[in-house]
């Protein structure tokens, strides 16, 4: 490139695009050539105008098809359903097993309504076993009638509920945000 020649449009464009290896020569020429300096300024102004175009506002939300309400699967995965069912069964067994032990460990507090209710259920359970035994079924062991205080029952239910909630929280942690 001769310093006396004017810069071409290509050179000016490439200079402003940072796509030339002749930067130093171009800058040297511009520093001494008012005409090329003016053309460069004009081109630079055009760049500024193009790039100053404001963005238009949206009239619809493109995220909607991906949001929770519209995109979650209709059913939970099978493994999750089975795990939750198993968890429920285990919690029920835990209640039945834990209640008598806790009743023996804690001082009983009179709570006629709860106790009566459980005694009634256990009596019915015994009666049902009697009926089954009459149908010549194998002999089943009798379940001892245990008197439960309301405190014991409340504590047991609270404990199992906590386990239930924590278990579900762990299982569903990826779905909860």
């Amino acid at each position: 490139m001769h310093l006396t020649d004017h810069l071409t449009d290509v050179q000016l464009n490439e200079y402003l695009d940072n796509e030339t290896a002749e930067r130093a020569q171009i800058e040297l020429h511009i520093s001494s050539c008012d005409e090329c300096a003016a053309r460069l300024t004009t081109l630079q102004d055009l760049f500024s105008e193009i790039e100053s175009l404001p963005e238009l506002a949206l009239s619809r939300n493109f995220a909607a098809p991906f949001t929770r309400t519209s995109s979650l699967p209709a059913q939970l995965p099978r493994w999750l359903t089975l795990t939750a069912t198993l968890q429920a069964a285990l919690a029920l067994v835990a209640i039945m097993v834990a209640a008598p032990f806790i009743a023996n460990l804690l001082p009983s507090i009179e709570a006629p309504s709860f106790t009566d209710f459980f005694v009634q259920i256990q009596s019915q359970w015994t009666a049902w076993l009697d009926i089954l035994s009459q149908l010549q079924m194998p002999t089943l062991p009798e379940i001892p009638v245990v008197e439960l205080s309301s405190l014991v029952i409340t504590l047991t239910l609270a404990g199992v509920s906590m386990l239930w909630l924590v278990g579900n929280g762990l299982l569903l942690r990826n779905q909860i945000k």
């Binding site: 238009l56 995220a63 991906f66």
Partner: protein, 178 residues
């Protein structure tokens, strides 16, 4: 959710978290829509193509390179989609300044800026589709000549000629005496 990085959201989305991808869309939807609008110059089509860009991105998310930035990538997806759309349509869209005027700003305060913006949009709309896409990739997405050539699968010489001719047309239209 807002404190998460794009990369965190992409990883979550790859694991099936729809909401994480929804958050990514929320972050980039204005930019992507404007890419489509600058190339297509028709709001309805631009919206459809912007939505399609996100759909395609979601389908291809498992192939996304986590070392890349999501914003530039999705904008390039949108630009390519618009170019393919224009090539398949082979129609010249006419810019309707009244219909598509920028509604985001108050005319009392920025009437002059708005008028100039409409002139620029009109000038961009008058460019051939190939020129428009090259201008979009160079000026709004800041790609180098080589990157544009690779993106559009055209020779480097075509990138330069499209870009320089586009600028010449824009200069003539924008600086023409009224």
């Amino acid at each position: 959710m807002t404190a998460l990085t794009d990369r965190d959201l992409i990883v979550r989305a790859m694991r099936g978290d729809h909401d994480a991808f929804g958050e990514l869309v929320t972050r980039y939807q204005t930019g992507v829509f404007n890419v489509c609008y600058r190339i297509l110059h028709e709001r309805g089509e631009a919206e459809d193509l912007a939505q399609e860009s996100f759909m395609r991105a979601y389908d291809r998310l498992n192939t996304f390179d986590l070392e890349r930035e999501f914003g530039p990538w999705i904008r390039r997806v949108a630009a390519n989609l618009c170019l393919n759309h224009l090539e398949s349509q082979k129609v010249t869209t006419q810019f309707n300044e009244e219909r598509d005027a920028d509604e985001t700003q108050r005319p009392e305060a920025v009437a002059e800026v708005r008028e100039r913006s409409e002139q620029i949009r009109g000038a961009l709309a008058s460019l051939p589709a190939q020129y428009r896409v090259v201008v979009e990739l160079r000026h709004y997405q800041e790609l180098s000549y080589d990157e544009i050539a690779a993106e559009l699968k055209i020779p480097l010489s075509d990138v330069k000629s499209h870009l320089f001719r586009a600028r010449k047309i824009l200069a003539e239209k924008l600086h023409a005496p009224d």
